[in-house]
C-alpha cells in the first residue's frame, strides 16, 4: 500500500474576520442614526412617562434616571403601587401583583442584571470608556429581515446581543439572559417606533416584551431629578 504520509493538505480556509473593526463600523453608524455621540453624552438625567400595555390594559408609569447614579420606576394598577429603584450599590422593589407588598431590597443577582440600566445614555455611547467589550456575531434573520448581531459584555459582566437593522442601523432586538436559580433563560425585547425627540436624539417609543408593550408618551431630557428618590423610604 502506498504510503500516505501525509501531505499537509493545507486549506486556506474561509476567513471569518470577527474583528472589532466590523463591530465598530456598525456601532458608529448606529450612533449616527440615533443622533450622534455629542448629543448623547450630554444626557445626564431623564424622565420618561408612558404606559405598559398588556392585553388591552394600560398601566401608566414614570421612569426617572440620573446618569450612573439612580433609576426609579413608579406605576400604579388598580390601587397597587409598583416601584422599582436601582442605584449602583442597592436596589429595592415593590410589586403587590407579584406578592411583594412592601418596598424591599432586591437580590444581588437582580441588582447585577439591572445595574447596567443606570447608563441612561445609550450603552454604545463611549462603550469602551464605560468598560464594555463587543464582539461581532455575523448576520442573522429575525421576523423576515436581516440584522447584524453584536454581543456586548458590560463591565458588570452582563451579556446582551443586539440586532442592528442592516439598512437603518437602528437596534431592532436585544437578547439577554436572565439567571434564575442558577439556570439561564433567554429574554428578548424589540425596539419599535423610533422617534426623534426635541433634544435631537432618536429613541424607540415602543418596547415589545412579548406579553407586554412599554409605550413612551413623553420624554424629558435633563430634568431636575432629586437624588433622594433613589433611597427606599
Amino acid at each position: 500500500m502506498k504510503k500516505i504520509f501525509l501531505s499537509m493538505m493545507v486549506f486556506g480556509a474561509t476567513a471569518f474576520t470577527l474583528s472589532a473593526q466590523t463591530a465598530d463600523e456598525i456601532i458608529e453608524k448606529y450612533i449616527t442614526a440615533i443622533g450622534g455621540a455629542d448629543k448623547w453624552t450630554k444626557v445626564q438625567s431623564i424622565k420618561v412617562e408612558g404606559q405598559v400595555e398588556v392585553q388591552g390594559l394600560a398601566i401608566p408609569y414614570t421612569m426617572q434616571g440620573l446618569q450612573l447614579k439612580g433609576m426609579r420606576v413608579d406605576a400604579e394598577f388598580q390601587g397597587n403601587i409598583i416601584i422599582d429603584i436601582v442605584t449602583p450599590t442597592n436596589g429595592w422593589s415593590q410589586n403587590p401583583l407579584a406578592g411583594k407588598n412592601t418596598l424591599s431590597p432586591i437580590t444581588e443577582e437582580e441588582l447585577k442584571s439591572k445595574v447596567d440600566d443606570l447608563d441612561i445614555q445609550d450603552a454604545f455611547i463611549e462603550y469602551q470608556t464605560k468598560g464594555s467589550a463587543v464582539e461581532f456575531l455575523g448576520k442573522d434573520e429575525e421576523d423576515g429581515n436581516e440584522y447584524f448581531k453584536i454581543k456586548m459584555t458590560s463591565k458588570n459582566n452582563n451579556e446582551k446581543t443586539y440586532f442592528f437593522d442592516t439598512k437603518t442601523y437602528l437596534i431592532y432586538k436585544i437578547e439577554s439572559v436572565v439567571k434564575q436559580q442558577g439556570q439561564e433563560m433567554k429574554t428578548a425585547v424589540k425596539y419599535l417606533d423610533y422617534q426623534l425627540i426635541d433634544f435631537g436624539i432618536k429613541m424607540p417609543f415602543k418596547t415589545d416584551q412579548g406579553m407586554m408593550m412599554m409605550v413612551i408618551k413623553k420624554v424629558t431630557i435633563n430634568p431636575v431629578v432629586d437624588e433622594s428618590i433613589f433611597i427606599a423610604k
Binding site: 500500500m1 504510503k3 500516505i4 504520509f5 501525509l6 501531505s7 499537509m8 493538505m9 493545507v10 486549506f11 486556506g12 480556509a13 474561509t14 476567513a15 471569518f16 474576520t17 470577527l18 400595555e53 398588556v54 392585553q55 388591552g56 388598580q78 390601587g79 397597587n80 403587590p96 401583583l97 407579584a98 464582539e135 456575531l137 455575523g138 442573522d140 434573520e141 421576523d143 423576515g144 429581515n145 448581531k149 454581543k151 451579556e159 446581543t161 437578547e175 439572559v177 442558577g182 439556570q183 439561564e184 433567554k186 419599535l192 417606533d193 415602543k206 406579553m211
Partner: protein, 1012 residues
C-alpha cells in the same frame, strides 16, 4: 403577572402577504404569516436517535448539550430534567458536539450524523456558539457532510480537531482530519487518505496534547448496498500535533480494515483501547500510547455493527472501568479484559447506543444516547431511567382520519407505529400516544370505512392489521404465489388506501388497500386477500439485488435497508379508482388507467426536464382540483446528489416541467397541493418545509411557523374537515398547522390595500374538551391544544405603530366588546373569547388574587346571533360579521346559551350598581374626612358610612387561605361562577341571584338613608 392567567383570549402575532402580480416587487417570506404557528405534538415518550451528549457543570448545575439525528441540539441546565432546543435555525442532523473545557459558553457543533445507516441525514459544516447556544456562527467545513468527533486541546483551547468521515454516497476530497489553531476561524487538513476514506475517530493524549491518534475509514453507500472497509482504512498516530503521521499496524489485524473506535485512558494515558472492524473483528489494547497492540477477548456486543456503534468511553475517575454503549450497554471493570451488560432494576435502555457522557465530577452519573432518546444512570450504569422530555422522534409518514377529534398515525424510525389524537384535554402528551405496531415504523393507515381497523408495518413490508376493538393484530403480508419472483419489499414499503365506488355483498362501502413489493397488490377485504395487479414495475436490475451476498462490506449487514428495485410510492387518483400511479426507488413512474390491467412507464418525461435518470420517486401528488395536474418529487441523494427535484405536469403526466427555487435545500421527500386553493403548495425536503403561494413559481422556506428552519420534512397531509396541515418530521415528531383558510385568503388578496379584514368563519358554540387529562407525571412533552374560539384574521400592509382597535356590536348595533389586536405587518390573528366587556367592580380594600379582581377581567359569553366586528387600523374602519351558532348536539341550544347570558348579565349589572354605590359612599366619606372639626350629625354619619362600607368591601387578608368575606366578594364569587359556566343555573339555583339583588337593595336603602 398573575392576573393575566385569567385572560381568556390570546393575542397573537402576525404578518403579511400578497397577490400573484406583486410577487416580484414584494419581498415575501414566512414571517408574514407567523400567526399560523405549528403545534408540536411530539411524542417524547419514544424520542429519537441521539448522536452526541456533552456536559459540563456550571454553578453546581449539570448542563447538557444533546445532539440528535434530525432534531437539532437540545440544552438542559438541570441535569436533563428539562431541555430547550438551541439550534432551530440550522441544519438539524448533528454528528458531534464539544464543550470548551472550563467554559460552558463555548460549544462546537459538527453537523451531519456519522452513524451511517440507510436513512441517515446530511450536514453542512461546523458551528460555534460563544454564549451557551443562544447565537451560533458557521465556522466552515461546509462540504464535509458528516462530522464524527470534535476535540479541543485542553492545553490550548484555540486548537480544535475535527474528524470528518465525509460524504456517504459519493467520493469526495472533503474528508479527513481537520485542525484549527484559531478557535475555528480557519482550518487546515491535517491528514487525508483518499476520496473514499474519511476520519472516523480521534483521540488526544490528555497531558501530551501533541500525541494524536486517528482512525481512518473507507466506506460507501449505494442505494442497494453498503460497504464498510477497504484498503484506505487505518490507524494513524502523530506525536507533533498533527504535522507528521505514521500508520499503526503492530499487533493489529492484517488485511482490509473497517471502522475503528479509539479511546485513551484519561487516568493512565499510555493505555489505549480500540475496537477494530476486520474480517475477524476485535477489541485491542495498547500499553504504549498506541504503538503496539494486543487483542482482548470481546463479546459480540463489543464488536457488533461497527458502522452504527462507535462509542467507547473510559470512566474519567477509574482507570479500570470502561463503557461500550452499542447494541446493549456493556461495561468492564478490569480495563476491557471482561465485559458485562447486566442491569438491575430501572428500565432497560432502548437498544442501539451512540453517545455517552460520564459526569467527571460525579462519575456515578451518566447520560446515554440511544435510538430512542436519552437515559440517565446515577449508579454507573447499573440501572437507568428514561428522560421523557425530548420530542425528537423520526417519523417517515403520517396519516389522519375523519374522527372528532381526528387521529394522527405514523411510524417512527426504530420506534414502532403510533396513534394519537390531534388535540387532547390538557394538551397532547406522551400518555396520549399509543403503540399500534412494532419494529421500525413507516406507513400507518387507518381503514377509511372503519376507524377501529389500522394497518401498520415494520421494515421490509411486514404489514399487520390491528383491530382496535379487540386489541388483536394480524400479519397480512402478501405471500409469494405461483408465478411470482421473490418479493422485494422496500425498507419503507408503501401502504396506501383509496376510496372505491364498489359495495360489498352486505351493501357496505368498500375501499382499496394497496401494498407493493416490485409488484403492486390490492385488497378490498382488509388485507385478507391480495390481488397482484401489476407485473414487476421496477427496472429489475439484477446488479442492484445482491444484498444477501454482499451487503455490509467487511461486516455483513442485511436488514432489508438496502432492498432495491422496489416500489416506493403508490397513489390512487382521488376521484377515479382505476387510475393508479406508482413510483419506484430505481426511477420508474408507472401509470395505469384500468386498475392495473395495463401499465405505462412515464419517467422519461421527467428526465427530459433535467432530473437525473433513475432518481428515486419519493412522492406523487395528483391534484384533487384538476384531474390533469400532478406533481412528483424525486430524490437522488443516494447517488451523492442532494439537489431538490420537483416537477409538475399539467397534462396528466405526459409532459413535465421542473420547478426550481434558490430557496430549496435538501433532497425532496413530499409535495402536497392544497385541497381548496390550487396556488398553495407545500414541499418537504431533508432540509426544510417550503411553501408556494403561486402554484410553484416562487417558494419560501418556512421559518416562522414554530418549526426548525431546516426541519426534515418527510410527509405532509391536509385533514379535510379541519383544513389542518399535518407534518411528519424525521427528527422533531409531528407538527400541525391549524386551518389553512387564512393562507388561502391571503393568496387571493390584493396586498396593496392598506388593510384587509377577512371574512370571519362562523363559530359553532363550543369549548375545548377539559377532561380527562393525562396524568401530569407521565405527560412528558405536551403539545399545544387546538384553540376553540372564533378567530378574526386581518392583514396590514405595514406594521401599525398604534394599537389596532377591535369592537364587537350586537344585533341592536350596541357595542358590547372592545379589545386590542396585534399590529404587525401581514397577517394578524385575534381570538374573541365570545365575551362582552367586563363589569366595573367596586374599588378599594383588598382585591389581589380574589374573585373580585378576577371579576373585573371576565364577562358573560354572548348568546347566538350575528355580530358585527369592526377593526380600526390607522384611523380607518373595516367591518365584517360573524355568526355564532347553537350547538344542539353538545347541548348548547340557543335557549340555554341565551339564559346563561341573561343570568351573567344580571350579575354583571349588580357588580356595576355596587360599584356606583361604593363610589358614592367613598366620595361622601372623603368629603366628610376633609372637614377638620367633625360635629354631629357628620361625626355619626361618617362612622355609619364607614361601617356600611366595611360590610360591603373586604379590607384585609388574614392569610393566603383566609380572606375577609363581604358582600362584594359574594357578588363576585357568584358572578365569576356564572360568567365562566358553560350551562345556565337551573331555575332553583338562579334564585341565588335574587338573594344578592335583595341584599343589595337593603344596602342601597341603608346608604340612601345615611346620605340624605
Amino acid at each position: 403577572m398573575y392576573m393575566y392567567r385569567y385572560l381568556k383570549y390570546k393575542l397573537s402575532l402576525a404578518a403579511f402577504f400578497l397577490v400573484m402580480i406583486t410577487w416580484a416587487q414584494t419581498a415575501i417570506n414566512s414571517s408574514h404569516f407567523q400567526v399560523m404557528g405549528a403545534r408540536a405534538l411530539g411524542p417524547s415518550t419514544m424520542s429519537g436517535r441521539i448522536t452526541s451528549i456533552e456536559g459540563i457543570t456550571v454553578a453546581g448545575q449539570v448542563n447538557l448539550y444533546v445532539g440528535t439525528a434530525g432534531g437539532g441540539i437540545w440544552k438542559s441546565q438541570n441535569g436533563g430534567q428539562s431541555f430547550n432546543p438551541v439550534f432551530d435555525k440550522y441544519c438539524q442532523s448533528i454528528g458531534a458536539l464539544a464543550v470548551e473545557p472550563g467554559n460552558a459558553k463555548v460549544v462546537y457543533a459538527g453537523t451531519g450524523e456519522s452513524n451511517t445507516r440507510n436513512s441517515v441525514s446530511i450536514g453542512d459544516g461546523l458551528y460555534k456558539t460563544t454564549d451557551g447556544g443562544n447565537n451560533w456562527q458557521k465556522m466552515g467545513l461546509d462540504s464535509t457532510e458528516r462530522i464524527s468527533k470534535i476535540l479541543i486541546d485542553p492545553s490550548d483551547k484555540k486548537n480544535i480537531y475535527v474528524a470528518a468521515p465525509g460524504p456517504l454516497w459519493k467520493s469526495s476530497s472533503h474528508r479527513g482530519l481537520y485542525k484549527s489553531t484559531d478557535g475555528g476561524k480557519t482550518w487546515n487538513k491535517l491528514l487525508y487518505v483518499n476520496e473514499e476514506t474519511g476520519c472516523a475517530d480521534i483521540a488526544l493524549h490528555p497531558q501530551k496534547s501533541n500525541i494524536i491518534l486517528a482512525s481512518f475509514w473507507q466506506f460507501r453507500r449505494k442505494p442497494y448496498a453498503f460497504n464498510s472497509g477497504g484498503p484506505g482504512s487505518g490507524l494513524f498516530k502523530s506525536t507533533d500535533g498533527g504535522k507528521t503521521w505514521h500508520k499503526l499496524t503492530r499487533g493489529l489485524p492484517e488485511g482490509d480494515l473497517g471502522r475503528m473506535v479509539i479511546t485513551i485512558n484519561p487516568s493512565q494515558p499510555s493505555e489505549v483501547l480500540a475496537i477494530v472492524e476486520a474480517k475477524i473483528p476485535g477489541l485491542y489494547l495498547s500499553l504504549d500510547e498506541g504503538e503496539t497492540w494486543k487483542k482482548l477477548a470481546a463479546t459480540e456486543n463489543i464488536t457488533a455493527r461497527p458502522f452504527y456503534f462507535s462509542t467507547l468511553v473510559y470512566d474519567p475517575g477509574d482507570p479500570k472501568r470502561v463503557y461500550r454503549p452499542a447494541f446493549d450497554f456493556a461495561y468492564s471493570i478490569d480495563g476491557g479484559y471482561s465485559w458485562s451488560n447486566t442491569t438491575i432494576g430501572g428500565v432497560q435502555p432502548h437498544a442501539d447506543h451512540h453517545a455517552l457522557w460520564v459526569n467527571p465530577n460525579n462519575t456515578e452519573m451518566m447520560f446515554l444516547g440511544t435510538d430512542g432518546g436519552v437515559y440517565q444512570s446515577l449508579n454507573k450504569g447499573s440501572s437507568w431511567q428514561f428522560l421523557n422530555n425530548l420530542p425528537v422522534g423520526q417519523f417517515y409518514h403520517v396519516s389522519v382520519d375523519n374522527q372528532l377529534p381526528y387521529k394522527i398515525y405514523g411510524g417512527l424510525q426504530d420506534n414502532y407505529s403510533w396513534i394519537a389524537p390531534n388535540t387532547a384535554p390538557g394538551g397532547v402528551s406522551s400518555a396520549d400516544w399509543r403503540i399500534i405496531g412494532g419494529g421500525d415504523g413507516f406507513w400507518v393507515q387507518p381503514s377509511p370505512v372503519n376507524p377501529k381497523i389500522v394497518f401498520s408495518e415494520s421494515q421490509g413490508g411486514e404489514i399487520t392489521r390491528a383491530d382496535l376493538a379487540t386489541g388483536l393484530s394480524f400479519g397480512i403480508k402478501p405471500k409469494k404465489l405461483p408465478g411470482d419472483d421473490e418479493h422485494r419489499f422496500n425498507w419503507n414499503t408503501p401502504i396506501v388506501t383509496g376510496s372505491s365506488v364498489k359495495k360489498g355483498v352486505n351493501g357496505k362501502p368498500l375501499y382499496n388497500l394497496y401494498i407493493a413489493s416490485q409488484y403492486l397488490f390490492k385488497s378490498t377485504d382488509d388485507g385478507r386477500n391480495w390481488e397482484r395487479i401489476s407485473p414487476d414495475l421496477t427496472t429489475n436490475n439484477k446488479a442492484k439485488q445482491q444484498q444477501s451476498e454482499s451487503s455490509g462490506g467487511i461486516t455483513g449487514d442485511n436488514t432489508s435497508a438496502e432492498n432495491h428495485c422496489t416500489i416506493f410510492t403508490v397513489v390512487q387518483h382521488p376521484k377515479n379508482e382505476h387510475i393508479i400511479w406508482v413510483g419506484t426507488d430505481d426511477g420508474n413512474l408507472q401509470y395505469t388507467g384500468d386498475a392495473g390491467k395495463t401499465w405505462q412507464n412515464k419517467a422519461s418525461g421527467i428526465w427530459q426536464t433535467g432530473v437525473p435518470e433513475n432518481s428515486w420517486i419519493s412522492s406523487i401528488e395528483i391534484s384533487s382540483l384538476n384531474p390533469k395536474r400532478m406533481y412528483v418529487t424525486l430524490d437522488n441523494h443516494m447517488y451523492g446528489d442532494n439537489n431538490t427535484y420537483l416537477v409538475v405536469s399539467y397534462d396528466a403526466g405526459n409532459t413535465w416541467k421542473r420547478l426550481v427555487s434558490t430557496e430549496f435545500t435538501g433532497f425532496a421527500h413530499i409535495v402536497r397541493e392544497d385541497i381548496v386553493n390550487d396556488k398553495l403548495l407545500f414541499l418537504g425536503t431533508e432540509m426544510g418545509l417550503f411553501i408556494s403561494l403561486d402554484g410553484g413559481n416562487q417558494w419560501m422556506r418556512s421559518k416562522y411557523q414554530n418549526m426548525p428552519w431546516y426541519n426534515l420534512v418527510r410527509d405532509i397531509k391536509i385533514q379535510p374537515q379541519t383544513n389542518d396541515l399535518v407534518i411528519a418530521s424525521h427528527g422533531r415528531g409531528i407538527y400541525v398547522i391549524d386551518n389553512l383558510q387564512p393562507l388561502r385568503d391571503l393568496v387571493k388578496s390584493d396586498v396593496n390595500k392598506e388593510a384587509i379584514l377577512y371574512p370571519i368563519q362562523s363559530f359553532t358554540y363550543d369549548f375545548a374538551a377539559q377532561l380527562p387529562i393525562a396524568p401530569p407525571n407521565l405527560a412528558g412533552w405536551v403539545g399545544e391544544n387546538k384553540v376553540v374560539s372564533p378567530v378574526i384574521y386581518y392583514y396590514l400592509k405595514q406594521r401599525s405603530n398604534d394599537a389596532v382597535k377591535i369592537e364587537i356590536y350586537d344585533a341592536d348595533n350596541k357595542k358590547i366588546k372592545d379589545f386590542n389586536g396585534s399590529g404587525l405587518k401581514g397577517l394578524n390573528k385575534v381570538y374573541w373569547g365570545l365575551n362582552t366587556n367586563p363589569p366595573k367592580v367596586a374599588l378599594g380594600g383588598f382585591t389581589t388574587g380574589s374573585s373580585v379582581q378576577y371579576a373585573s377581567f371576565i364577562s358573560p359569553k354572548v348568546p347566538v346571533g350575528k355580530y358585527k366586528v369592526v377593526i380600526k387600523a390607522d384611523g380607518k374602519l373595516y367591518e365584517e360579521f360573524i355568526h355564532i351558532k347553537a350547538n344542539t348536539e353538545k347541548g348548547f341550544t340557543a335557549q340555554s346559551i341565551g339564559l346563561l347570558y341573561k343570568q351573567g348579565m344580571r350579575l354583571h349589572g349588580l357588580q356595576e350598581k355596587l360599584a356606583v354605590l361604593v363610589d358614592t359612599l367613598d366620595k361622601t366619606i372623603a368629603l366628610l374626612n376633609k372637614i377638620e372639626k367633625k360635629e354631629e350629625p357628620n361625626k355619626t354619619k361618617l362612622e355609619k358610612l364607614t361601617e356600611l362600607r366595611k360590610e360591603i368591601i373586604e379590607m384585609n387578608r388574614t392569610s393566603i387561605f383566609f380572606d375577609e368575606f363581604k358582600f362584594r366578594r359574594r357578588v363576585s364569587d357568584l358572578y365569576v361562577s356564572v360568567a365562566t359556566a358553560i350551562e345556565p343555573l337551573s331555575a332553583r339555583q338562579e334564585k341565588s341571584i335574587r338573594v344578592l339583588e335583595n341584599e343589595f337593595e337593603l344596602f342601597k336603602e341603608k346608604a340612601g338613608a345615611l346620605l340624605k
